[in-house]
Amino acid sequence: MNFWDRCRNKLKKLNRTENPSPEKEVKVLEKKLEENLIKIKDELGDSSDLVIRYFELGTESPAAAAVVYISGLVDDKKANKFIEESLKVEDPLKEAAYSQKDMFDIVRDRALSINNIVMVSDWNKLLLTILNGETVILLDGYNEAITANTKGGQTREITEPSTQLVIRGPKVAFTESIGTNVALIRRYIKSPNLRVETQQVGSITKTDTALVYIKGTVNEKVLREVKKRLNKIEVEDIIESGNIEEYIQDNAFTPFPTIYNSERPDAVVGNLLEGRIAVIVDGTPFVLVVPALFIQFFQSPSDYYQNYLIGSFLRMLRIISYIISILTPSLYIALTTFHPQMIPTSLLISLAAQHEGVPFPVIVEVLIMEFTFEIIREAGLRMPRAVGQAVSIVGALVLGQAAVQAGIVSPTTIIVVAFTGIASFATPSYNIAVAPRLLRFLMMILAGGFGLYGVFVALFILIAHLTSLRSFGIPYLSPFAPFIPADFKDTIIRRPLWSLDSRPRLVSQQNNKRQARGNKPSPSDNHNGN
């Protein structure tokens, strides 16, 4: 560990000495319009989607003006209206003479009346605003530009979520546009305390990243930490929130996610209300939520929309199926190979009979089948939808049944592998459900080598690793380890909503109370007597 840190530090130092960060000198716009336009064209490489429109203001002694924007990024209607309203005036010069006002001021005032505008005189900033989808008005003789937010262009409609499906609950998913996503959250939380802080990450992509939290509920320490880590990112490109996730997570060497993600606004809003922080990244519908606890990945938004008894039962089912998906194949190997005395006799006889014609030891059998299963799974996922079904037919029928008939594997092995596979689909969060796929192989090998002892050793290592993880300083396995009984309300079971009266203690360290006491429904006294 120390060794890697040292290496990393050395690399950092090397990088710093090789290319010292360029001093940021503020280049100001020129006064002449022509020069400005040439420079813009130069800098943007005269791209075909760059639109420059010339105008002449006034009739007597016309003043030149230009509008610059990038065609695909702006909303045409908005841009045209903005241009028309602010430039197509009858005779601004006359008006200027009449009111003794500067022409620039007139245009600015008119622009202001239809859009919120920003004055830019810094050259780099100007380029950035153009690339961001804003419309820029330049006037000859002035070294300032009027920029208006006319962002638009084609974005995807709001659709139903394709992951984390629920039977009951809102059918809205985030989209790729950060503005829409923030608005979706705002629609749920109509509180002035909902804060949105935007910043750009990535020196080339300049990806908009918004930090959303509720002031007063959020854990300030975690918030500071998130900001610190976001500011520390110095990379060229951020394409998806997964990239941000990898740069800000606590422990890089782990198969378990320490940052939650969701494309469901209701899930994110629920987390915000518990005192967590959302990181929305432009260009992806998947919103990050920190800090994330292990147990959080087993909670589905629908747990809160349906009967709490059913919700609790389903939650327990998910956790059990997660444990099954990690342990089953290795326990099967350990018991059949090392501890046959622990299997009831009649079952053992039938197992032995099935295994009779199979030439491989159980460990090889299971490894082959697990590996095949993983391939079928991945192939089914990547194939075009029409072909995907063919893959599953080939996988299930041909490989499964034919392998048994050919005497390559025993039927029990197929059952074990299939059961494990199905169990791993029961987890609501994809990114924690993939961890066992990797760990399973490790456990199988240890089980094949040392039986139950190997499984136990793997469990010790696994649990010690899990307890050592932290998500932004919050222990990953809390409230189990460290043991916080007060936070058990909403973990393995979900207690009724009226008894969920406090937020998780470690996540939100202030303002823990969520609701008044006495929300438990009961028939009013009037009805009791009759």
Binding site: F338, H339, Q341, M342, I343, P344, F450, G451, L452, Y453, G454, F456, V457, F460, I461, I463, A464, T467, S468, P475, L477, F480, A481, P482, F483
Partner: protein, 364 residues
């Protein structure tokens, strides 16, 4: 010392896992035959009283481990010598526990696996967990404690339902008088209750010092009760003669449980208990040896010692005895009377008396 804190619950859990450790499988009280439970009870009582000595010493020097305050109390040289003695003791008992664990596992289920392999895997796992530090060990303990409780509850229920227990086996009480009981008490005290001396190394990590006794006494009490329960279970299921003569009475007893052919061969539960308990017992002794060595020889980061110590413990665990019988007889006689009793009772009392005199003499 690393900058870490454990809370009262974590201490409680660690003590229970430690006390049950290997003792639950090889019950030391059984040489008192029918009155084994009495022997364990007396061992528990003495252990609880003696923990008070460790606790008072800790409250006198709340910032120090046993190594630290023995230096404060006995002076530079004598204190250092006492420290070295304890360091070797922790290491030695860690070695013995690893050997115990390996012997138990090879004898119970892994008849064909070399002892060395089993020990090597165990010490590697312990080393891996310890490199995360005491906090992670404590939290891992919390998770496995839940598992242990679950397994224990299921096992006990099964035993009850199976109806194998015959409580008349325990009668008459004190058939042979007090003699056998009293001669067994040193054994039941030193193993496992007297081994609480190792927690003097962990107490300074507590977030609130007064939790030391509030967590430790209930934990010792509960684990003592569990050990008594297990000994009673062994005797009532197997009968006193088989129980006293079998190497792993609990394994044999649980193995007899058979409920309508559906729930049988529950010895997997015993092996699980053994693995969990053994792991924590070895880990705690290993950790105590690590931090005492780091403190004695002024090593700034104890984590650097983990790998060399693992090798030492592994090789010593192979070399410490020529066979299982040799190992066990050494543990019963030599270790109990010549190592455990002086280290667990003698030196702490000397320390306490000297500390009290020093406090009386020193002007306030």
């Amino acid at each position: 010392m690393e900058k870490a804190k454990i809370n009262g619950w974590q201490l409680f859990v660690l003590i229970i896992l430690f006390e049950l450790g290997t003792a639950i499988v090889i019950n030391p009280g059984l040489s008192a035959e029918k009155d084994a439970w009495l022997a364990v009870l007396f061992g528990l009582i003495i252990g609880v009283i003696f923990f008070l000595v460790y606790y008072v010493l800790y409250r006198f020097y709340p910032e120090c481990t046993l190594i630290g305050y023995s230096k404060e109390i006995l002076g530079k040289y004598a204190g250092f010598m006492a420290g070295v003695l304890y360091f070797i003791y922790f290491l030695y008992i860690g070695v013995r526990d690893l050997r115990d664990f390996g012997e138990l596992l090879t004898a119970s289920t892994y008849n064909y696996t070399p002892l060395f392999i089993i020990n090597a895997i165990m010490i590697l796992t312990v080393a891996f967990v310890l490199h995360y530090g005491i906090e992670v060990l404590a939290r891992t303990g919390e998770i496995f404690f839940l598992l242990l409780i679950l397994v224990g509850a299921i096992g006990t229920t099964m035993v009850f339902v199976s109806g194998e227990m015959d409580f008349s086996q325990l009668l008459p009480v004190l058939e042979n008088g007090w003699g056998p009981v009293l001669s067994t008490v040193p054994l039941t005290y030193t193993f496992p209750f007297g081994e609480m001396i190792v927690f003097t190394m962990l107490l300074p990590y507590l977030n609130r010092p007064q939790l030391g006794i509030r967590a430790a006494w209930p934990a010792m009490g509960l684990s003592g009760m569990l050990l008594i329960w297990v000994v009673i279970m062994d005797i009532t299921i197997l009968g006193v003669y088989i129980a006293a003569r079998s190497t792993f009475p609990m394994l044999a007893a649980i193995g007899l449980v058979d409920i309508t052919g559906l729930f049988q061969r529950l010895d997997v539960a015993v092996v699980m208990t053994l693995m969990i308990g053994g792991f924590f017992k070895i880990a705690i002794f290993f950790y105590a040896a690590l931090i005492s060595a780091a403190e004695l020889f002024k090593v700034p980061n104890y984590k650097k010692l983990i790998i060399p110590f693992s090798i030492v413990i592994l090789i010593s665990s192979m070399a410490v005895a020529s066979s299982s019988v040799d190992h066990n007889s050494e543990g019963l006689d030599m270790v109990t009377y010549y190592i455990s009793l002086p280290v667990q009772m003698g030196i702490p009392i000397i320390l306490l008396i000297t500390a009290l005199i020093r406090r009386r003499l020193s002007p306030r």
